[in-house]
């Protein structure tokens, strides 16, 4: 309220109409974001249940509302009205603060994401968008540790500490995966200076790639919509690795160890109930949306789609509104497509073990991302010294990266199995044999019985 009154005072002092328009833009953008985060969580929960039900040969929620569509609404209502339980021996202040610390950065991270050409809070102009996003997503860890520690529950504590280790480990390959794209932007920029602003990274994929041909239909489709220039095609391996790290960052399966139900009951969420639990839940699904949204901006051309740039470029109120609505539509479709993969992965894969999770991050993902940075730089160095144009470099880079992607997929499974098998089997067997030899009396008849059967 204070902030709003300050804005009003500021606006009344100056007679400039543009300030009122800026305030309006801010309010619209802010409200749409807040609404988007909160409703997106509710929609995703329902979508997840329905999609998983479809994959598992069942119907999912069906009784509440038509086709079970109101299930999430009913759940939210239930959570709001639930008694707020806090165990006596919990650390009160930390216990109460933890959900907020978890949820706030999730909502804050949306500040750097434009929804459409018009609907974007001023934060999207931030030149250090990616750094801001990474910083916000790493604050989550604090909330998780606070929850795990303050719950005064062993399962919570193990869950919280696992989560801390996991989120910090996977932050590194996540950032390194984005470095490849940042390098690309600095190569594409004529000044040689790239960008880490999310909005600018999007424009590298959309703006100026397609020169207006003056043919109305083609202009309408391809102005600002150039799928062949999306970074996804030039850095597919980084896209996949970013996505894997996103799964780990959001504690989604197969990296959902912090809340591994079969081992840790519910991890750091064990002692939470009611609205506090719902805030964690909201934060998790919000995180999922953010990871998907960032992937959309950096690898999939953001909100660009047929007609957006053309319609908003007409400088006409009505057509501009339509263009913005289209942009939001494209954005939401891309984000939810990525969220669908999250859900798909969840219903397919088992969970990794804690040490395998660390191994995967430190022994596989980080070397691969570092290797990719070197390869990208080397290719540019060679091609640039040969005097080739940018588009040829991009094609070569894309081909090399796709080859690396296939190699990665081929090798990673083998490596995971082989490293764990090599790491654990002999030592455990040796230890177990030694332990067994001390405790068990030798039974001469046991061996004889086994050979005598058949």
């Amino acid at each position: 309220m204070l902030f709003a009154s300050m804005l009003v005072k500021l606006a009344s002092q100056s007679s400039n109409v543009n300030i009122w328009l800026d305030i309006l833009e801010f309010v619209v953008a802010f409200l749409s974001f807040f609404g988007f985060v909160l409703t997106s969580a509710v929609i995703l929960v329902l979508a997840e249940r329905k999609i998983m039900a479809w994959m598992q040969d069942r119907v999912g929620p069906i009784h509440t509302g038509p086709w079970g569509l109101l299930q999430s609404v009913a759940d939210v209502g239930k959570l709001l009205m639930k008694e707020d339980i806090r165990a006596v021996k919990t650390d009160k202040s930390l216990f109460i603060l933890a959900p907020s610390v978890f949820l706030a950065p999730v909502i804050a991270a949306f500040a750097v994401l434009p929804l459409s050409p018009y609907v974007s809070v001023p934060g999207t102009a931030l030149a250090t968008g990616i750094v801001y996003y990474v910083a916000m997503s790493s604050i989550d860890v604090v909330g998780v540790i606070m929850a795990g520690w303050s719950s005064n529950n062993k399962y919570s504590l193990i869950g919280g500490l696992r989560s801390a280790a996991q989120m910090i480990s996977y932050e590194l390959p996540l950032v390194l995966a984005l470095v490849g794209v940042v390098m690309l932007t600095s190569i594409l920029a004529n000044s040689g200076l790239g960008t880490i602003s999310i909005r600018d990274m999007m424009t590298y994929q959309t703006g100026g790639v397609y020169p207006g041909k003056g043919i109305g239909f083609f202009d309408f489709i391809f102005q600002g919509f150039t799928p062949w220039a999306w970074f996804f095609l030039q850095q597919p391996l980084m896209f996949i690795i970013y996505y894997i790290c996103g799964l780990a960052e959001t504690n989604r399966p197969p990296f959902d160890l912090p809340e591994a139900e079969s081992e840790l009951v519910a991890g750091y969420l064990t002692e939470y109930s009611g609205m506090r639990w719902a805030m964690f839940f909201l934060g998790e699904y919000g995180n999922m949306t953010i990871v998907s949204a960032i992937a959309t901006y950096i690898f999939l051309g953001g909100f660009s789609g047929p007609g957006v740039a053309f319609l908003t470029g007409l400088n006409n109120g009505g057509w501009g509104l339509l263009g913005n609505l289209l942009a939001i539509g494209y954005f939401v479709i891309k984000v939810y497509l990525l969220c669908f993969v999250f859900i798909w992965v969840r219903s397919t894969l088992p969970r990794l073990r804690a040490d395998q999770l660390m191994q995967f991050a430190w022994l596989i993902l980080i070397p691969v991302t570092l290797f990719n940075i070197i390869v990208t730089a080397l290719i540019y160095l060679v091609m640039n010294s040969l005097g080739s144009p940018n588009w040829l470099f991009q094609i070569v880079l894309g081909i090399v990266n796709f080859a690396m992607l296939i190699g990665f997929i081929y090798i990673v499974g083998r490596a995971t199995v082989a490293t764990t098998r090599r790491a654990q089997a002999p030592s455990i067997r040796a230890r177990r044999r030694a332990a067994a030899a001390g405790q068990l009396p030798e039974r001469a008849s046991a061996g004889a019985a086994s050979s005598g059967q058949k």
């Binding site: 040969d57 193990i158 009951v265 894969l349 088992p350 804690a354 995971t416 654990q424 332990a435």
Partner: protein
Amino acid sequence: MVTNQSINTNPPVTDDTSEGITSQEMLLNMGPQHPSTHGVLRLILTMEGETVTDCTPVIGYLHRGIEKILENRTVMGGIRYMDNADYLSPMLNETAYAGAVEQLMGIEAPRRAQYIRLLTNEMQRIASHLVAIGTYGLDLGAFTPVLWTFRDREGILSLFEALGGSRFNVNYMRVGGVLHDFPKGWLKECEVFLDQLEKNMVELDLLLTGNEIFDARTQGVGYIDQQQAIAYGLTGPMLRASGISWDLRVNRPYMAYREVPVNVQVRQEGDCFARYLVRMMEITESIRLCRVAIDKMPAGPIGTRTPIALRPPRGETYFAIESSKGELGIYFISDGSEYPWRAKIRGPSFVNLQILPEMLRGHKMGDVIAILGSTDIVLGEVDR
């Protein structure tokens, strides 16, 4: 039996590690209310960091005194209580009980009844293994297998419902035969189901067996060598996964298994993956056996006449069948009255559970559930 009082709740501070950091052992109480201890098993884990150094299973939370109830029920009336012992394979339990009484009385069920028993037993084995595999997937964090296997198990339960009138506690076996003959068209439905099941099993196999994460979680985990397996008295898939070919259907054939040869499924690895794979292969083998039983199903009576007040002769006997989890034996003592003087159940789950602390030692917290799941215990049979 471990009680709460006998467990030292203040573990000593362990030795200094090489870095000079003093750490304390943590006592973690897993269960009896825990999502994946397969019922109400309670594990008291002594942990150092995430590594399990010791484990004490505490059982008895599901004790219903089934053996005592059997002593207070007539022989025929007791069959129904056998359903509740290993509640995932009631048909097998009933067969064991009925078989023990038959052995004591010196009668044999007619051939048709024997084949019906074989068919229902193999279907029950499939159902039990389906639950084992599905919940094992759930233990490892894969959500889908459990729903697929329960869908398939649903078909078996529906077929049992048509047979005995009840889906779960079928109460179908009788001393000297079975309760009813098949309803009309039951065998045809059974064949249709088996065809569908075969297709579904291929799908399940594709989902789980080749999965790298699944491999990494199960291979080399929870290793039991041959000598240990025998020393601990393991039976069933637990034993066969350690490379020992021992199956009562082959080694001590009973009823129709004397005529129908069984291919024993053996794996050499001795780890969780081998146990999972043995169960998968046994499902395939059981499907084959079901088909054989349907093809060879003889005509004739489904039971011998036994007196209504069934009085087994004075004496004692031990009769064991190959249950889905191992050797399910009934030690039956009769004093010549209508009631058994003693009916001791040798539950394979109970025996197989003994090796758990031995397997867990030195593994990570995450492996506890993977190993426990692979033993496929049913607490109803452990506690009885």
